[in-house]
């Protein structure tokens, strides 16, 4: 009978204490896992905060590479990539592509001539229902070796301390390669003349299960015509956008996709270091940009070019950036889709 099992008051108190401790301990473990006791943990929120300009993030827009313009086209595979990866995207054929030319800035209104880094987000879809998403930039290497170092770089760049950048460069000498490129590489007056690089290393898995560490690049078919940033500035703050609209109207644009294969022993974990020039390259196909799409109302708007959305046959390597980018891009996506009223769709806008 329940009565016969009643406990003395002291024992009840002891049991209640046990229950309290167990429940409080569980809640504390949960809070610890969520990072509430770890203020130093580098979270996606902190990274997104560090990307924001001093005036605050542009609501409704991507938290970086905010300025851009969308395109559609096809990726025509020549079949050569099949020796490296079993992904259907490398089987000879044509696959629909969606992409976005962009500038590496958190400000969607930044004048073109003020932004050194240009990028291309790309999604190629194959009939097997798989997707390959990638987001590339025109720099040959990344400025930082680790996501933590990149966060420090963002903080240093935003710092009011005039020595902050010098201190960062001292602690992270790898930035010199990127710095040299930023200083000396010629600018172009068109997205069509830019080369875009994956920077991060990925692993291609072929039909036999063999693995190949690779990076990839898109090489423009258009001849690059160097232009100084001053000249670019004279052409107008949104010149690149207008130029690419006109250019694609005159005819489709092409880029050759080249896969660079690492030698055994090449480091895959550090995108701030290029592999030696003599590494084997394989031309796997051609990206053709056929049509420019509206940015605010077009098909790119609600796409996250998350570089870890990969088909079977491509996977991440020990490079820590794709995972970091995935988590940060997701944060940016969650924020901007929740702010869509701050970046209204212009229902009346016509396709350029």
């Amino acid at each position: 009978m329940p009565e016969s099992r009643r406990l003395p008051a002291r024992s009840v108190f002891g049991s209640l204490v046990i229950i309290f401790v167990v429940i409080a301990g569980s809640a504390a473990a949960f809070a610890y896992t969520a990072g509430w006791f770890s203020p130093r943990r580098l979270t996606p929120d902190k990274m997104v905060d560090a990307l924001a300009p001093p005036t605050g993030a542009a609501l409704g827009h991507r938290r970086n590479h905010a300025k851009g313009i969308c395109f559609t086209g096809v990726f025509e595979s020549n079949g050569s990539g099949s020796t490296l990866s079993k992904a259907q995207v490398f089987v000879r054929g044509q696959y629909p592509a969606l992409g976005r030319f962009n500038l590496g800035t958190p400000d969607p209104n930044a004048p073109d001539s003020t932004v050194r880094v240009r990028g291309m987000g790309l999604r190629i879809s194959t009939p097997d229902g798989q997707e390959w998403r990638t987001a590339m930039i025109n720099a040959p290497v990344f400025p930082a070796a680790t996501p933590q170092a990149f966060h420090e770089l963002l903080l240093a760049a935003a710092s009011k301390d005039p020595n902050a950048m010098k201190a960062f460069a001292g602690a992270h000498p790898e930035i010199a390669t990127f710095g040299a490129w930023a200083k000396s590489a010629p600018w172009t007056g068109s997205y069509a003349e830019d080369r875009f690089n994956s920077l991060n290393a990925f692993i291609f898995v072929d039909n036999s299960g063999a693995e190949h560490a690779v990076r990839w690049s898109l090489l423009p078919a258009a001849q690059a015509v160097p232009i100084s940033p001053d000249e670019l500035a004279k052409r107008g703050p949104d010149f690149l956008q207008q130029e690419i609209v006109d250019r694609v109207r005159r005819g489709p644009l092409h880029w050759t996709m080249v896969v660079t294969v690492a030698n055994p022993g090449d480091s895959t974990g550090d995108p701030s270091k290029a592999w030696p020039e003599d590494r084997r390259t394989v031309e796997v196909g051609t990206l053709t940009v056929q049509q420019i799409e509206a940015e605010a109302d077009g098909p790119c708007r609600d796409i996250n070019f998350d570089p870890t959305v990969l088909p079977a046959g491509i996977r991440i390597s020990d490079d820590p950036f794709p995972a970091a980018r995935s988590s940060i891009y997701a944060k940016s996506y969650d924020l901007r889709t929740a702010e869509s009223k701050d970046y209204p769709r212009t229902a009346t806008s016509t396709k350029p």
Binding site: V22, F30, G35, T43, P147, N304, A323, S327, S340
Partner: protein, 187 residues
């Protein structure tokens, strides 16, 4: 004595304890993965998706089993507020066990992400892409996760209260192994 011989069926107990493990792991992985940018992020997200679908399947099986076999009655002397809390919390737990995986799946669909499970299994999108739906579902998935964990803690506290303080046989109805009392002949 109350509840003797009236326990949840072995299948119900198996499902309960298996799901305790899955759901607790799921909630910890969830809050952990959204707070890190380390390489752990990707395997955690992958496990979160696969485990979520596993929980959905287990919860649907469990619901059918519950409807078929029911539950042992609560002790007659259980105060009415506790009785009400027990019933309501069970409804809430079932709704969350089934609803949370569906919210997660819909949220990914509304964002246009492919839903890829462990082993490369691909699930179809169950909603069209929409920033508004994504935001709604994301908020629901996020805030309900904390409610879910709070409910589990309450459920756990209540189970311990039944086991340690009231000693009324309620805990034994779902205990993973029969208690010593039940192994001895009935009083």
């Amino acid at each position: 004595m109350i509840g003797i011989g009236q326990r949840f069926t072995p299948l119900q107990r198996l499902l309960h304890w298996l799901m305790v493990f899955c759901i607790v792991a799921m909630l910890f992985i969830g809050v952990g993965m959204v707070s890190t940018i380390t390489p752990k992020y990707l395997p955690l997200v992958s496990i979160h998706k696969s485990l979520g679908i596993a929980i959905l399947v287990l919860a649907l099986i469990r619901l059918v089993v519950r409807l078929r076999y029911g539950a042992p009655p609560l002790p007659a002397d259980l105060p009415e507020p506790m009785r009400l809390a027990a019933h309501l919390s069970h409804y809430a737990l079932y709704i969350l066990m089934i609803g949370m995986p569906l919210l997660g799946w819909s949220m990914l669909s509304a964002a246009g992400y492919p839903v890829v499970l462990y082993g490369g299994v691909r699930l179809p999108a169950i909603l069209p892409q929409s920033d508004r739906l994504h935001t709604l579902l994301w908020n629901a998935h996020f805030y309900l996760a904390f409610l879910f964990f709070a409910l589990i803690l309450m459920h756990f506290a209540a189970a311990l209260f039944h086991a340690l303080v009231r000693r009324d046989g309620v805990f034994e109805t779902m205990a993973p192994v029969p208690s010593r009392d039940e192994l001895t002949p009935a009083e």
